[in-house]
């Protein structure tokens, strides 16, 4: 049986620093804010409060001068440098495809994209809320796991 390759252990020379910067931004800009308001409510909040918190987390994940930016858009700005589509830092390119945490993050963000489409289309029932919350938690955990692994290693 072949052991899965850990992309974080096989980084190109000089990539660790720029990647750590990038993952730090990912953890803060996406991982922290994608589930901030839902987690703030703690256990067993009223369903309506939970729905509103989830919508705020996913639809206004980043707040800039031009207004709120949703989670898929934030991810779209960060993902290309993680899958080798654009360099991290001038010449350094990395590809985390196949990494267990990256795949978890990528899958969860795909689900969140669907939830955001539903929300924008006026679909915000309990199933959508539950999916959004679960996916957002996964994104937070995966972002932190990636950052911690690289930092620790």
């Amino acid at each position: 049986m072949v052991e899965p390759v850990d992309p974080l252990q096989r980084l190109p020379f000089g990539a660790r620093g720029p990647l750590l910067d990038h993952l730090s931004r990912l953890r803060h800009d996406l991982g922290k804010y994608v589930s901030l308001q839902v987690r703030w409510l703690g256990a067993s909040p009223p369903p309506e409060a939970l729905r509103q918190a989830m919508m705020a987390d996913l639809l206004e994940t980043h707040r800039g001068p031009g207004g709120g930016i949703d989670a898929p858009t934030v991810w779209a700005g960060l993902r290309p440098a993680l899958v080798g589509e654009v360099p991290l830092d001038d010449t350094i390119t990395v590809d985390l495809s196949g990494d267990v945490d990256f795949e978890r993050l990528d899958d969860a963000m795909a689900r969140i994209s669907g939830v955001v489409r539903d929300l924008r289309g006026g679909v915000d029932g309990p199933q959508t809320v539950a999916t959004g919350i679960e996916a957002a938690r996964t994104v937070s955990d995966a972002c932190r796991a990636l950052w911690s692994r690289l930092r620790g290693g």
Binding site: D21, Y33, L36, Q37, R39, W40, L41, S140, R144
Partner: protein, 535 residues
């Protein structure tokens, strides 16, 4: 309710806190160090906790640590740990203010907080990178309870600075031991207060606290005063006398201005410290005494030893290695508002100010009740029986800018005088004002701060005195104050020569001792005046 400052480049934490923990009062969010500093200065010690984010995406020039030529990577790093840089700045000015860093300790573990910033007593972390309101509420409640509990440990004059906390810890240990305690510090720093209310109460000794100010006792009476005397042992000794050591046996003896001890008395004190017994003047019998000795001085006793004015062997017996130096008021991180309340509470315990307050209540038809000091900010709503003494923001700013060369004593006098004059200026309730609010105008505070109560200036051939006369002051009190200033001015003019003063006042240099006695009775202290001479 806690007063919380939020330092964050985003609005989100502030919004969430206000929505889910409405029981607290929030300031901010402020976006960086400069705004945070301004907010803390405006808060004047009323802020209980700071919630500080770590990652700040703010304009480069607003970042602490930004410099021309900074690289892109370094700039990113600076933004990512800006909260730590803000904390570093904050700690220089507010060393003991509780700060919750809005991240987990684990996340910051490798950022290696600079030394002193990770003191768990004042710097807190979230349990997790993202926290829920309930957890944060519990954390804030715990911090506030701990902070208020610490403050309840002792009066406000201790202050909140790290230095004063260390002194308290040190004194608490020294108080329980059997060795003497040496307190040094400028005039008015509360040496006597601390000896009485801190060292003695923590010593666990059942006996009395006895204080002796050695600067007020004539040199030739000092030994009898400290060690006692038998009838006839000196001129005028008409009965056996118990000395301060015996009176304080089983308790604490506080010797203020110990540097004033005559060489004979120093020798006797040394003997008491070595043997644990005293012998009254004129007696042969040794009497055991068990005294916790606390001595105080305005100047370093080592300097007196070096000059030969103080015995080196006695100095060594006083346990000089553990000398406690009390810093001036300005260096204690004091909450001026609480100090004001403390000083006025003390003043209200005395009949004079309390009487004026009661007169005012009766005059405006207020029932008896509590007096609450409002140090800046808005006046609270009326409450049954409460009279508010309001110091406006401007007045509080004047107090906080003053350097207090006379330390706690000066602060207390200014506070009390300002209230006395505010009351004396009132004749009924001013139009448009509430009867339960006495306003202490900023101008009054400024007048009190600019007045130098000890000033006596020579103008031409005449001394010009300025004294603050309180309402209903007795003639005797006014006369004594004039006399005190006159003696002080003469002493300075004649560079400490009591003989010359006697020649001037009584026409005979031989009456120097009489003059010195009166000088002491007036509460003047040679040591303090010597400091003025040196200046």
């Amino acid at each position: 309710m806690a007063d919380i400052l939020i330092v964050d480049d985003q609005d989100r934490y502030a919004e969430l806190c206000r929505r889910t923990m409405p029981e607290h009062h929030y300031r901010g969010p402020v976006r960086g160090w400069q705004e945070a500093k301004s907010a803390l200065e405006r808060g004047q010690g009323r802020i209980d906790v700071v919630l500080l984010d770590v990652h700040f995406d703010i304009p480069e020039q607003d970042l602490v640590g930004f410099h021309e030529g900074i690289g892109a990577r370094e700039l990113q790093d600076l933004k990512r740990r800006q909260g730590v840089e803000i904390l570093r700045q904050l700690r220089k000015l507010w060393p003991d203010l509780p700060v919750v860093l809005m991240t987990s300790r684990q996340e910051l573990a490798l950022e290696s907080l600079p030394e002193g910033l990770s003191d768990e007593e004042y710097t807190y972390f979230l349990d997790d990178d993202v926290v829920d309101a309930q957890t944060l509420r519990g954390q804030i409640d715990g911090i506030v309870a701990s902070r208020r509990g610490r403050e309840a440990d002792g009066p406000v004059y201790w202050g909140a600075s790290m230095a004063m906390r260390r002194i308290r810890r040190k004194l608490a240990i020294l108080a329980r031991g059997r060795l003497p305690v040496v307190l040094l510090g400028p005039t008015g720093t509360g040496k006597s207060l601390i000896a009485r209310h801190f060292v003695h109460t923590r010593s666990g000794r059942p006996g009395r606290f006895v204080a002796v100010d050695l600067s007020t006792i004539p040199t030739d009476l000092c030994a009898a005063h400290l060690f006692g005397a038998v009838k006839g042992s000196y001129t005028g000794s008409i009965a056996d006398r118990v000395g301060a050591f015996e009176a304080a046996s089983g308790g604490t003896l506080f010797l203020d201005e110990v540097g004033n001890l005559s060489s004979d008395a120093q020798k006797m004190l040394l003997s008491v410290l070595q043997e644990g017994v005293i012998t009254r003047l004129g007696d042969l019998r040794e009497r055991p005494v068990d005294v916790k000795l606390v001595v105080a001085a305005n100047e370093d006793l080592r300097a007196r030893v070096a000059r030969g004015d103080f015995r080196a062997d006695l100095y060594m017996r006083l346990n000089p290695a553990t000398t406690v130096i009390l810093p001036p008021l300005a260096e204690r991180g004091l909450d001026q508002g609480r100090l004001l309340s403390f000083c006025l509470e003390q003043a209200l315990a005395r009949p004079y100010l309390r009487g004026l307050i009661e007169d005012y209540r009766q005059g405006v038809g207020l029932p008896p009740g509590r007096v609450v000091v409002v140090a800046g900010g808005a006046v609270p709503d009326p409450a049954e029986g409460v009279l508010h003494l309001q110091f406006p923001d401007r007045g509080m700013r004047l107090l906080s800018r003053h350097h207090w060369p006379g330390n706690l004593r000066e602060f207390s006098m200014v506070a009390e005088n300002a209230v006395l004059f505010a009351l004396s200026e009132l004749s009924g309730v001013p139009p448009g004002q509430r009867p339960d609010v006495v306003q202490v105008r900023a101008k009054l505070v400024r007048d009190m701060l600019s007045a130098d109560p000890t000033s006596a200036q020579l103008e031409g051939d005449a001394w010009h005195h300025t004294i603050a006369v309180r309402p209903q002051e007795t003639l005797n009190r006014v006369a004594v104050e004039c006399e005190r200033q006159y003696f002080e001015a003469l002493w300075l003019e004649h560079e400490g020569s009591f003989a010359e003063m006697a020649a001037l006042l009584l026409g005979d240099e031989g009456h120097a001792r009489k003059v010195q006695l009166r000088f002491n009775q007036l509460g003047l202290k040679v040591r303090e005046l010597k400091a003025q001479l040196r200046r």
